[in-house]
Symmetry: C2
Subunit: 451 residues, 2 copies
């Protein structure tokens, strides 16, 4: 089922508003910002991802003839409006934080400035892309904090919510520090290292487990990870030991065994012992099966001899926080700041900049959210929102994923320990995000002038 590039992948209200803007001749420039209102419980930070996909979407936005025909025939829109849509393109300016940046609540991660019809229309898909990728990147970073020096592989495709989720998850996880993914298409499309070996069904298709091991090793001599828990994990390990000499004689090295069920801690210890006593000290133990950052941390804290983890469902669906409170809000129209004041949903008005403030020692003192027009704060401060697109065109080709991944690693390195924990602390105490006095004053002024 192809989907993702279609202009009709949006909410109906974007189209009804578009016709209204067209009818009214409202062509003023609007500033919208994409941000998260609050972090999910237990999340000490967020790690940005999905920006490249968002820029792709903006650059490629157009209604195809079949879409226009369908809109015309739907009876919901006037013919002159649908004709106008044929030339509808995104021609705006976009500023964004770099993917792999750490950010917090109320910090715009992407700012769109464009004629209001365009700036409004792109809301649904921008949130759809950045919300998910950021959620997974954050989850992946948390897993990486739980296992700083182990192999981590994304196994999440099958329980991801559809095709695109599987792909975006693989990319976001790699960006955040995973070593690779099992999702082949993500390897092809993004150049992410691929990992994977065999399923239980492969073992079961053979009369004897040892046969399955031997034949797989012969077929994939450079990639021998054997799944040993189909019948009995320790027996599987003994079969690996028994098989090793014959494989070695043929020049085939067993790289690892995989455990996928039961008490992974106990099995890993028993298997390590069997492998070591069998002379297979160099064979790694890889574990999978419903793992998340808490489980990984527990296994490693207790000293389980596990060298790598496959993280699937919990990564690709971010089970404990399957969405972010990410929104895309009008902050200014026609040069004048706007503020939504709905209960519990008020936003900071105006086009804003996020400044990262550094201590003289190179550490982070916190962030400052200020109006774009304000002078930079004193001291060592870096503007996180950089212009990525102007006139609807990217200002530079997409950055290499490897470079973004390095950036993410550097960002995560700077995070205080309290925010890295699986039960992450409230970032407020460890990474203050201040709202500039001028921005606060503007918000109050708008509230006084409410109508």
């Amino acid at each position: 089922m192809k989907s993702g590039d279609e202009a009709l992948l949006t909410d109906l209200y974007q189209l009804t508003m578009l016709q209204a803007y067209y009818d009214e001749g409202l062509r003023g420039r609007a500033v919208f910002e994409l941000f998260v209102r609050r972090l999910p419980p237990g999340r000490g930070f967020l790690l940005l991802a999905g920006i490249e996909q968002a820029l792709d979407y903006l650059e490629g936005l157009r209604f195809e003839p079949a879409e226009l025909d369908w809109l015309r025939e739907s009876g919901r829109f006037r013919a002159d409006f649908v004709d106008w849509l044929a030339d509808f393109r995104f021609t705006g300016t976009v500023s964004a934080m770099r993917e792999g940046s750490v950010f917090f609540a109320n910090e715009p991660v992407l700012r769109v400035e464009a004629p209001i019809a365009q700036a409004q229309f792109v809301e649904s898909r921008l949130i759809n892309l950045v919300n998910y990728a950021t959620m997974v990147a954050t989850k992946a970073a948390r897993c990486r904090f739980a296992a700083p020096s182990r192999l981590l592989v994304d196994f999440g495709l099958r329980r991801a919510h559809g095709a695109e989720a599987g792909l975006l998850a693989a990319r976001a996880a790699y960006l955040a520090g995973f070593d690779g993914t099992a999702t082949v298409l993500a390897g092809q499309r993004f150049g992410i290292p691929l990992f994977g070996t065999m399923a239980h069904s492969y073992i079961e298709a053979h009369e004897h487990e040892s046969d399955a091991f031997a034949r797989f090793a012969a077929s994939q001599p450079g990639n021998v990870t054997l799944l040993i828990d189909t019948y009995d994990t320790e027996e599987g390990a003994r079969r690996v030991v028994a098989l090793a000499p014959a494989l070695h004689a043929r020049g085939i090295r067993i790289a690892a065994v995989r455990l996928d069920s039961g008490d992974l801690d106990a099995h890993a210890r028993a298997v390590r012992r069997i492998l070591d006593e069998g002379g297979l000290r160099e064979v790694h133990i890889f574990a999978s099966g419903n793992l998340d950052e808490w489980q990984i941390a527990r296994l490693l804290a207790s000293g389980a001899p596990i060298d790598g983890f496959g993280v699937g469902t919990h990564l690709s669906t971010s089970v404990d926080a399957p969405f972010l409170d990410m929104v895309y809000k009008l902050q200014a129209y026609d040069g004048r700041p706007r503020r939504k004041r709905s209960e519990g949903k008020a936003t900071w008005p105006g086009a804003k900049q996020v400044w990262r403030l550094h201590t003289p020692g190179g550490g982070v003192a916190g962030d400052l959210v200020a109006l774009r027009e304000e002078a930079p704060p004193p001291g060592d401060a870096r503007a996180l929102l950089q212009v990525a697109m102007d006139g609807g065109r990217r200002l530079a080709p997409p950055e290499a994923l490897a470079a973004l991944r390095q950036h993410a690693a550097a960002e995560l390195d700077r995070l205080p320990a309290a925010l890295r924990a699986a039960d992450g602390a409230d970032p407020g105490l460890h990474w203050p995000v201040r709202i500039s006095p001028a921005l606060q004053a503007l918000a109050e002024e708008l509230d006084r002038g409410r109508h």
Copy 2:
């Protein structure tokens, strides 16, 4: 970002196993079944969806030249194997439950019989499609039980996990009894009724809220739902009342107002009073904003005068159960039953049929999971798995979504009240799923013969 139709949308191990099967010349017929090992906590039933997309995938499966080139260049696979993949197609037989069927743990919902290489290869994408669609259909059915006679609309695209999730969610929700969706592409692709009006930003782009209301009504005279909570909900309602006569004079009827924040119960009552006193008794109240089945049930139980609900994030991500324990397991190879025995993950072996047993009065007495070869159980029993595809081809064109939706409604009608509840009971007590004696005997026999 296009994705979904590619053969490479799979886990690497499917390809490494494929090469191993090719190398070994393993061409025996395999039976795999797709099922859920256990229901998520609080779920009293599951409602099947995603089968049409799964059949589409199987029918269209092929490696495109660019994919073959990439595989060849990846260095992971031998050239003769990649050449062989060029003609790789799915030629198997598929049996499935009808979409919109109620089902329970350990009941196969889809059975694939094909040469093992084919039957194995399709695992990742089959789970990816059916797991998600079923999860959302179930969530939607629960919302429908909470609000049997209210308008229910899917608002979930923006927080859905990527493009395909948004589309599959719209379809699954409609199948399960929602009235429609806001996702335009789902309207185009599946013929689902569309709903939607305006965002807060539309209101804010105007100097005065009343102006925004009037101009929107003029632009969309057949679709006037006004969002009234941007500044002050009750004041918004009074503005609607003030505006109505002028609109009526131009033949424009206000259909509804929408509330999206604050205490929806209190606001709905206040707004209802304002509208009624203003002579707008026929104007409906529609509510949205972080709603789920519990919230909807609470609002209606307390008598909140709300006529319809937009359900977004909680529907499209199924927040409280963002995945099902859905698996796809080898049950027989080359005519001989197989059983995975990994701890906590043992499965029922052999090709199976699910029988729905009816009471003489037409009610449901429960289900029976039996070996396919067993004689039908006595009494009024219906086989739920029907052959949908043979020789890799569908036996009939896809059923109309409207017909599947009717089937779902009839299925849900038969569910005991205890299973419909938001805090659903354990289905075991209310809808017994028995395993046939022959199937139990086979499982024991296989366990005795373990190796």
